[in-house]
């Protein structure tokens, strides 16, 4: 019953998905930054962009750093909300 309480009627699932999305995004940024000096990677991105693939812009370090800061803040905010959601659940199951 508690499992359903955690899953339904609260934002916990959405928030967890948000954390997953943020860490996936940061992993992508890490890969692009790690390959910022790899000529083949730049060439592959150019080709993908010419073919019309989304998200295949050439690596721009400033842009990646901004995206990183953005994702970090998003992660922080989501984690805080998740903490509050857990706090709410905890106080609702506590004996009085």
């Amino acid at each position: 019953m508690l499992a359903r309480l955690v899953g339904n009627g609260t934002a916990v699932d959405q928030l967890k998905a948000g954390l997953d999305a943020s860490s996936r995004a940061v992993r992508g940024i890490a890969h692009r930054v790690a390959n910022a000096g790899t000529p083949e990677f730049a060439r592959a991105l150019d080709e993908a962009q010419a073919a019309g693939a989304p998200g295949a812009d050439p690596v721009d370090l400033e842009h990646e750093m901004v995206a990183l800061a953005d994702e970090q803040l998003r992660f922080e905010a989501t984690a805080t909300l998740l903490e509050k959601a857990y706090q709410g659940l905890r106080s609702s199951v506590r004996e009085r």
């Binding site: 890490a30 790899t38 370090l61």
Partner: protein
């Protein structure tokens, strides 16, 4: 072995820390480039290399490591759970171009006409490479720190 998210000493990075591995591979790659630049600058005037010929500029070749974003639904052990990602140093190559020919009859490596073949190292372009390498290293450090603070935050929930 049960994966509890701690490096197990086998060199395998557990899935939860793979993101850090990506940033770390970037640091390794830039450090290798820095080593090559250091060797090039140190040997900018070396007219007799290991093979007796003038020193040739060293270039690090980098290669992308296949990247597949980790799927939330995938089983952590399955291939669908993502390629490692990051970058790999393939090897050190030599710049095949010829260095400048300098007239210096007193030089021990001068030919019969008094010309010396210098290494094909251009200090200015090495300096530009050095700056680029340093910035890329810093960018990878920033990413590493961001991931570390996110991991730490998720342990505090």
């Amino acid at each position: 072995m049960t994966d509890i998210g701690i490096a197990d000493g086998t060199g395998r990075i557990p899935p939860s820390l793979k993101g850090l591995g990506i940033a770390a591979s970037g640091l390794t790659a830039q450090r290798a480039r820095l080593d090559a630049i250091a060797a090039n600058i140190a040997n900018a005037e070396t007219t007799r290399g290991v093979d007796g010929a003038p020193y040739r500029r060293k270039v690090i070749r980098l290669e992308e490591v296949g990247f597949e974003p980790l799927l939330a639904s995938a089983d952590p052990g399955s291939p669908a759970a993502g390629g490692e990602g990051g970058v790999r140093v393939v090897g050190v190559e030599e710049d095949a171009s010829q260095g400048a020919l300098v007239y210096d009859p007193g030089h021990p490596d001068a030919d019969a006409a008094g010309y010396v073949r210098m290494p094909n190292v251009d200090i200015t372009s090495e300096m530009v490479d050095l700056m680029e390498t340093r910035r890329l290293f810093e960018a990878n450090v920033t990413v590493f720190q961001a991931m570390k603070s996110m991991l730490r935050r998720s342990t505090q929930l």
